[in-house]
Symmetry: D3
Subunit: 213 residues, 6 copies
Amino acid sequence: MALSYSSSLVFLVLALSAPLGLVMAGDPDILTDYVVPANGNPSNITGDFFTFTGFRKVFNTSAPAAQNFTVTKATMAEFPALIGQSVSYATLVFPPGSVNPPHTHPRSAELLLVVNGALSVGFVDTTNKLYTQDLTTGDMFVFPKGMVHFQFNKGTQPAMAVSAFGSAAAGVVSIPVTVFGTGIDDAVLAKSFKTDVPTIQKLKAGLTQPKKT
Amino acid sequence: MALSYSSSLVFLVLALSAPLGLVMAGDPDILTDYVVPANGNPSNITGDFFTFTGFRKVFNTSAPAAQNFTVTKATMAEFPALIGQSVSYATLVFPPGSVNPPHTHPRSAELLLVVNGALSVGFVDTTNKLYTQDLTTGDMFVFPKGMVHFQFNKGTQPAMAVSAFGSAAAGVVSIPVTVFGTGIDDAVLAKSFKTDVPTIQKLKAGLTQPKKT
Amino acid sequence: MALSYSSSLVFLVLALSAPLGLVMAGDPDILTDYVVPANGNPSNITGDFFTFTGFRKVFNTSAPAAQNFTVTKATMAEFPALIGQSVSYATLVFPPGSVNPPHTHPRSAELLLVVNGALSVGFVDTTNKLYTQDLTTGDMFVFPKGMVHFQFNKGTQPAMAVSAFGSAAAGVVSIPVTVFGTGIDDAVLAKSFKTDVPTIQKLKAGLTQPKKT
Amino acid sequence: MALSYSSSLVFLVLALSAPLGLVMAGDPDILTDYVVPANGNPSNITGDFFTFTGFRKVFNTSAPAAQNFTVTKATMAEFPALIGQSVSYATLVFPPGSVNPPHTHPRSAELLLVVNGALSVGFVDTTNKLYTQDLTTGDMFVFPKGMVHFQFNKGTQPAMAVSAFGSAAAGVVSIPVTVFGTGIDDAVLAKSFKTDVPTIQKLKAGLTQPKKT
Amino acid sequence: MALSYSSSLVFLVLALSAPLGLVMAGDPDILTDYVVPANGNPSNITGDFFTFTGFRKVFNTSAPAAQNFTVTKATMAEFPALIGQSVSYATLVFPPGSVNPPHTHPRSAELLLVVNGALSVGFVDTTNKLYTQDLTTGDMFVFPKGMVHFQFNKGTQPAMAVSAFGSAAAGVVSIPVTVFGTGIDDAVLAKSFKTDVPTIQKLKAGLTQPKKT
Amino acid sequence: MALSYSSSLVFLVLALSAPLGLVMAGDPDILTDYVVPANGNPSNITGDFFTFTGFRKVFNTSAPAAQNFTVTKATMAEFPALIGQSVSYATLVFPPGSVNPPHTHPRSAELLLVVNGALSVGFVDTTNKLYTQDLTTGDMFVFPKGMVHFQFNKGTQPAMAVSAFGSAAAGVVSIPVTVFGTGIDDAVLAKSFKTDVPTIQKLKAGLTQPKKT
């Protein structure tokens, strides 16, 4: 159906306009089968458009093991065919002892599936109750929408998980960097965390880093 | 309210950009009273914009009777004022003995009203239970969202129905053409329908047709 | 799919509880194919559940003509199978000279189709611009969500229309009765309509009526 | 996250295109943290973008008192950072004896908070039942979605309220102007309000006014 | 936050009422962190509630290989913590030569990830265009909402995939069984598939089966 | 309209069932004008139901000044008439030097309006960019959905703000208590915050507190 629109009423063309900044989007139901990128030609869309190969390396068992916790995402940014489909994936690779620090996803719950190894996970609800679990291969855990959660490989073997999100752009708010790595005033943080300024400055020193681009 | 925006902050103008493919839309609540087409001038919008006359011929009782089952649609493609209003219509004309083959609407339920004659209808739910009914003039039947359904005029008189949809672009997936008229591999279909390849090829021969544009 | 839920986790059973008042509902997408009424047995659901015959009398051409403007509704109140399907219908019968007074539907746009005769229609947008149209048989007109609109049969022949809504419970706010028939303070109305109290009282006398049930 | 989109796939750029009319929008959840205006540069966005100072004058206690009922809005039209955030405000200033005439908001409920003085308020539901209340400083009242409502300062002191809406563009349909100030046919109105044409013409004379722009 | 509600205003308690049929649900955003089952005690909820172990056997590499195509689901029916979280999973195991027949999901797109082996996949859009792809381990493919799609292991090695859905109850409409295994009238099917009644009866013989429970 | 339902088809009654746990809810559009509580009688609903007086004390200028940062909420928990209306309020009172610590609202943006005094505010987006502003009386600031944000009264005079939310139950995740006051493993936190266990234990000592009820 997408094709028919391009040749008739192009009521919602969103132009690819070089100097422009912005952009918005929504996770509503779309009114076409799928969304063709602004610079794409609907008649050139093939099965390739609906295919994402960026996880091949993660599943390549002959590749060297990761040295750090590593997230590989397939959101609508990396995989445009997801626009309007309200679903996305991430793969999470945990070397022994590694942690995925406390974070939230502002636009979706997360459904984590351990595909290899074992993981300890947890989240805190809005009543400040902590829920934890030790997961083994094949186990799933759901982190409800907007809750602070984390994962930890406390074992000696690598672990790998695949996480699904009910949004094409769940977003990530990493708590340590957000709070201590972005320049929030020392006094605000000291009062908030009921500690002294030197402790805040020590934490900031460990977490301040170049802004992501 | 649409007018006032065009003269102030045009934050969401969707430019008509010639070489572009197309794009997307959504059935969310809009934030204006209605949506002006990309190539339209809001101050020129009159009652005509909100009027659709494409069904006059269907209701013209002096016109010759249709020889085949005929659908006439009034979705946002034919009637742009429906964009953002989450509703659309189709008229269905059934000569005696004609069938509207099994199909689904991926984006809406269908509420069918028999305005003339009699129809037999049915749908199958996700537990594979079939629901059928014989309808007479003035009767309504609702086909729930996404379910496979069909209508049949098994009588000797013509019948006519008007169907409402809770989306401006409900979409149609015709099962016979989708499955046997688009080139799906014979082996896949033979295994799926638990039959032999010659039977699949026979069905394909009847249903393969030029791709719609 | 509805059936399978009843025998497993009945997490969302909505009990029919006699003395209870309340109730709520939503027009969100449902997570079952359809919704079984609280006092219904899913295994007894047949095609009858999805059928509404309350419009037969409206389409009965041998019945005597209506003497007044008459609306017959098929919302989820009259036709429970519509719950969760986001669509509903009403039939409107207009004797010559009759009017459907200015009103709004708080929860849906209205897509009106003239199935017999001719009608004059209009609506006002939030910039206070009036849009009108004269419709003949087979014509459609869309009244955008939440706008004040009306229909008028200014001819000498009866007219009939079928209106579709993108909600199973669009609701109706009749402006004359709401404003002048519910007991709003005379002084508030006189100031609001920039007139005197006697004029308000005269209007009230014509419109005050027993509360609907 | 908004920034990252602009440098990669700009699939939904909404170009500011001079001759174009239109515009649409939606109140769905956005898939970015916020929405940068079409003519804005994401890297220039600072805290100023998220700040609205248009209410300062309303809260300026040394300013002369308003002579008439005055609404000051902060919707997405006046405060573009609200796009996609599903919330907005208005301030309402009531000199003694002033009225906010009966109106509806087609796209949101209203939650009114009296920050100074006292107000009498009311709304009518779809069963034509009137609900009223006398509010004092600090009191809140919720006008449900789409219902006709009004406020009245029946005292001798000025009053002020702040109203929140669950939409960035709730819209306003003023009943007196919509019905009697936009040119609806006298005969339609006389029949609708069960009165005579001279009374309609008298009301129109008081309410007809230049169309807003 | 769920806990606090149970001890205060239980405005939305959904009673577990034995003789009742069942009911409905929605995929809307919930207004609590998560949803406690009707027969559950919020204070007894632990990490176990958010854990699903039903996929362990699928990931058990020492178990005997499946002899047929096998789907294992983790929807809200099997994993109630998913209620309100708008996400779910299924695992798909394909012995060599096996097929997942053409089907649709009425309430979600599907995002398939090949975790072992290779698969050929395809879907047909509403313009009757077929999109196909050969996938290898680590590849993903998105089947847009409501489209007919299928998967085929045409190789000689087993394959396994994990599919994510942007709904807690995506639903499945299997085309072969829906059309030929539920008792739809032979004449309707013969006309729809442009074939003869004996061919329909042959297909029915292969596909008619006891109704699922 | 709520009334009419109670006397006809009570299809969605949500019974108040003592021993039951809970419950769910959603912020979708409702299909009635408002939602009557489970233990309420629709015919007894008056203007009082739509009125909330819990903020009177906050606006009482003769009351003693607060000694600590104090939030008073009017969500659907405190003000049930908000159920289904997608809007709520909170009042925030800041003595000189007080802080509202970094937190998120999982289900809504926040639109803060300074009604007295001055406040410094800030939030961090998902690219880890900090946005700050100094606000004076009458100024508004929008904290986008799901972002970590905070407010600080760095002056010597008390300040007061009113915040609106586009949900009847926005929820609050307080970062300091969530991370350091709920029992998350020391090792996980030390790795996450790139610090040592004694620093984590020091922070925990300041923030661990009895679980809220």
